[in-house]
């Protein structure tokens, strides 16, 4: 087999960072080629160069041994290169078929497109109703729409950026079968991931990148997660193991019969949620995305003044009617799922982003004036204590990579000494190094007596750090399971909604 893509001495630097430093390797035709690396290792930049999204400073790309000049995604598509992004770009209120036709470069009638899509779906086992609106689909199905959209352009090469980060274990194994079948039919798949086990299960070859450079390109066959992880990081990752579930007595948070009755079809209604959290306990809320996680977080944060019934009791006092500001003043901290534009403003500096969440603290204010000196020193402390890789606190938040920004945001909240920390998807879409660091930090924090709620669809993460796990399914919360002697089959059933 010959190489379909060859990267030759690719260089790309941004002010202050070298994203790709002399990157050269080959990708064989009809193979699954993984690119593994820490966040900031340059893997996203590299595939964006291949997809024509980013222009390299120097270097060449050969497609089928011919020099290719890829100036834009449409040139890439003409060369048979397609990409499925980590963040979907679908129109919620349009149907699957309508979304598919929007991605087409050629003129095609809706009926012909439906026929073509149906063939693809049937052949590879995508379970999609072409006439349903995107808003009614699960995250996994939405990803299928993105993949089908790429396949409609009959690509030779498909780039997938962290495709598994939003899927349930079941959906992941289905996706892998689809990918393998696609490769059998002649496609070449470039698969970006930081999940070591997945790469071993799925890929034929893996290129490991670190600090913008290629460490090596190897066949995956002879690797195990530990050796691969070592190559990626240059050091060994230790798992954050939660200590056993001991003497929790003091109650911190008690949620009683929390329900909502929204008529908005785009919102999941919560149904009699009960949750009891003790001091120093980590409580995981598992479940597939779109089962009420967003709504639960909004009510805990009291965004948008949504109406609900039931009670939220924090340390013996009812906080139902308290505003976000008042809840934060009671030392409850929040880290939302969306980093950019929610728990941080990309256009603002890191210092300003400290004040964004800490504006209730009197030490950062002199009357109505902002005390920038104090804020800057707080920001420096966060950057130092939480290994945030940035030259200064004046850098705009949007310039940081996902993992770095997440470390910064979590660090910002932790340094304010919260009694209760509520995190949504704390390690979603970030690299293994940052992920390990964040998990370790969370566990240490609980040992100091901080109570933590983690809302996450990453089951492995919850099993690793939590004491108790409940599953959120269509707005209902299961009874908690003790992680120490957890019954995985039972948990699996809960994930599918089988609980009372």
């Amino acid at each position: 087999m010959q190489s379909i893509v060859e990267f030759k001495n690719i260089h790309k630097s941004y002010p202050g960072v070298i994203a790709n430093d002399d990157v050269s390797f080959k990708i064989r035709e009809q193979s699954i080629h993984a690119i593994l690396g820490e966040n900031g290792a340059g893997k996203s930049t590299l595939v964006k160069i291949l997809y024509g999204h980013v222009k390299p400073d120097s270097g060449e790309i050969l497609i089928n041994s011919d020099l290719a000049i890829i100036n834009s995604p449409s040139t890439a598509k003409n060369l048979g290169i397609n990409m499925v992004f980590q963040h979907f770009s679908l129109f919620e209120s349009l149907t699957v078929a309508e979304n598919l036709i929007l991605g087409m470069n050629e003129n095609i009638s809706l009926t012909r497109l439906k026929k073509k899509s149906k063939t693809i779906c049937d052949k590879y086992g995508f379970n999609l109703n072409l006439n349903s609106p995107i808003s009614s689909l699960s995250v996994g199905q939405r990803q299928s729409v993105e993949i089908v959209r790429s396949l409609l352009n009959s690509p030779k090469i498909l780039i997938m950026d962290e495709p598994t980060s939003v899927l349930t274990p079941d959906e992941i194994s289905k996706l892998f079968i689809i990918i393998k079948n696609l490769v059998k039919d002649g496609l070449t798949v470039i698969f970006i991931s930081h999940k070591l086990e997945e790469i071993i299960n799925l890929s034929d070859y893996v290129t490991i990148m670190r600090n913008g450079k290629v460490v090596s390109t190897i066949t995956t066959q002879n690797e195990d997660p530990e050796t691969l992880g070592y190559k990626m990081l240059g050091y060994k990752v230790s798992k954050a193991k939660q200590v056993s579930d001991i003497n929790f007595s003091e109650e911190i948070l008690n949620i009683k019969n929390l329900s909502t009755q929204s008529k908005d079809p785009f919102r999941i209604n919560l149904n009699k949620i009960n949750l009891n959290l003790k001091k120093g306990q980590i409580f995981g809320i598992a479940g597939v995305a779109g089962n009420g996680q967003k709504e639960l977080m909004e009510i805990l944060l009291n965004e948008n003044d949504y109406e609900f019934s039931g009670d939220i009791i924090f340390k013996d006092s009812n906080i139902n009617d308290l505003s976000t500001f008042q809840r934060k003043s009671l030392s409850i901290s929040f880290v939302t799922e969306e980093r950019l534009g929610h728990s941080a403003v990309p256009e603002m500096s890191l210092s300003e982003n400290i004040f964004l969440s800490m504006n209730h603290k009197s030490e950062f204010k002199k009357g109505d004036f902002i005390n920038f000196e104090k804020i800057n020193s707080y920001a420096s402390d966060v950057i130092k204590n939480f290994n945030v890789d940035t030259p200064s606190f004046n850098v705009k938040a949007g310039k940081l990579s996902g993992g770095n920004l997440q470390k910064f945001i979590i660090g910002r909240e932790i340094m304010s000494n919260p009694e209760l920390l509520i995190l949504s998807q704390p390690t979603w879409g970030i690299d293994a190094g940052s992920e390990a660091f964040i998990k370790k930090t969370i566990v240490e924090l609980s040992q100091k007596g901080v109570s933590i709620i983690i809302i996450s669809h990453d089951l492995d993460e919850l099993l690793e750090v939590c004491h108790r796990i409940s599953v959120l399914y269509e707005g209902s919360l299961s009874n908690p399971l003790n992680v120490e002697n957890i019954n995985i089959t039972k948990l699996g059933k809960y994930m599918g909604g089988l609980f009372d």
Binding site: S72, N107, E303, N304, V345, E352
Partner: protein, 353 residues
């Protein structure tokens, strides 16, 4: 589907160009403006001289430039609070009118007063009148979720008709030969001029003070921070615990008070009484001034001078070139158009295929 023109967001657009684009817009306006003169069979160079240079070639002209720039700057500074907060108050003209009615009303009520306190009281009521008029769209938006662009605009016409009612009705000057105007304010209710014989008045100081205060608010205070966050991301603003509804009220009240102040300055300064046409669209033109100044307080001072020049130029052009003074509005429109254009091109790449 085939698009002839495609646009794509630039990954990181330039801040420098963001601040330079007003200059580019002005240059483009001059370039395309010269075609207007050519079409009218006038020499562009001569016309530009009459339009932009001769109006400010003597002390009277410079005084007039400040007379025009003062209300524009005060209103635009107020509007910048709303615009930073992504609230589109375009009813400043009505708030200006209401300020003139409230403040001017005080002047007419105490028309035999010689008290030193009359003028400060008129100024206070001018600000209150403008703020009151701006509170209405704020209430409508927060309580009924109406679009503030429509309500603030419609209220402008309501305010103009209220002024009309007063100057043809109860406040009509009995000695005014039936003309729709009030009697003049007493001397104690007139705004002091800076230089004898010229019309430039102490409103200039107010504009500069408001500019400085605004600069401090935007850069040093929690309130300015709230506006900045809310303007960039409403979700982040909720996360930070800021109350959007309160911000809507505050920004409307500030911008209304500024517009009202400007209105009062007009009637108690250059005009000296109330009548129908107290403002040559200052309230609307100030929108252009605010954006041309990049919502930056010092930028607004500069852009108010530039736009004031288009007013003066238009008057001179009418006099010496025999063309309608509406040419001034054409130039204002061109500046805004090119400014929006340069902003767009700075933010997006455009492909033509």
């Amino acid at each position: 589907m085939v698009f002839l023109i495609r646009v794509q967001l630039r990954e990181d657009y330039s801040n420098l160009i963001f601040y330079l684009s007003p200059l580019v817009a002005v240059a483009l306006t001059l370039f395309f403006g010269s075609f207007i003169f050519l079409i009218l069979d006038l020499s562009p160079i001569e016309s530009f001289k009459i339009f932009f240079i001769s109006p400010i070639s003597n002390s009277y002209g410079i005084s007039e430039l400040f007379v025009k720039a003062t209300p524009l700057a005060i209103i635009a500074l107020g509007l910048s609070y709303c615009f930073k907060n992504n609230i589109y108050n375009i009813g400043a003209e009505g708030q200006l009118t209401m300020g003139a009615i409230f403040g001017g009303g005080i002047g007419l009520l105490f028309n035999d007063s010689t008290s030193f306190f009359l003028l400060p009281l008129m100024i206070l009521f001018g600000a209150i009148g403008g703020a009151f008029w701006a509170t209405i769209p704020a209430i409508l938006k927060t309580k009924f979720n109406t679009n503030e662009i429509l309500t603030s605009l419609m209220l402008t016409y309501v305010a103009l008709y209220i002024l009309d009612y007063f100057v043809v009705g109860p406040w009509k000057d009995p000695a005014g030969y039936g003309l729709p105007k009030s009697m003049p304010f007493p001397d104690a209710g007139r705004l002091p001029v800076l230089i004898d014989g010229l019309r430039v008045h102490i409103g200039v100081y107010f504009a500069l003070i408001i500019c400085l205060i605004t600069y401090i608010i935007y850069n040093k205070t929690l309130f300015g921070f709230k506006l900045k966050v809310t303007g960039l991301s409403s979700k982040a603003s909720q996360y930070a615990g800021f109350k959007y509804k309160n911000l809507i009220f505050y920004t409307f009240i500030i911008s209304g008070a500024c517009a009202g102040l400007a209105g009062l300055f007009e009637v108690s300064g250059p005009i000296g009484l109330l009548y129908r046409d107290i403002s040559p669209n200052y309230g609307f033109t100030a929108i252009i001034v605010a954006f041309l100044g990049r919502l930056n307080p010092f930028g607004i001072i500069l852009s108010s001078l530039l736009i004031a020049l288009t007013y003066l130029g238009a008057e001179d052009a009418q006099l010496f070139l025999k063309i309608p003074s509406a040419v001034g509005f054409v130039f204002q429109g061109l500046v805004l158009f090119f400014l929006l254009g340069t902003d767009f091109l700075n933010k997006y790449k455009v492909f033509i295929k």
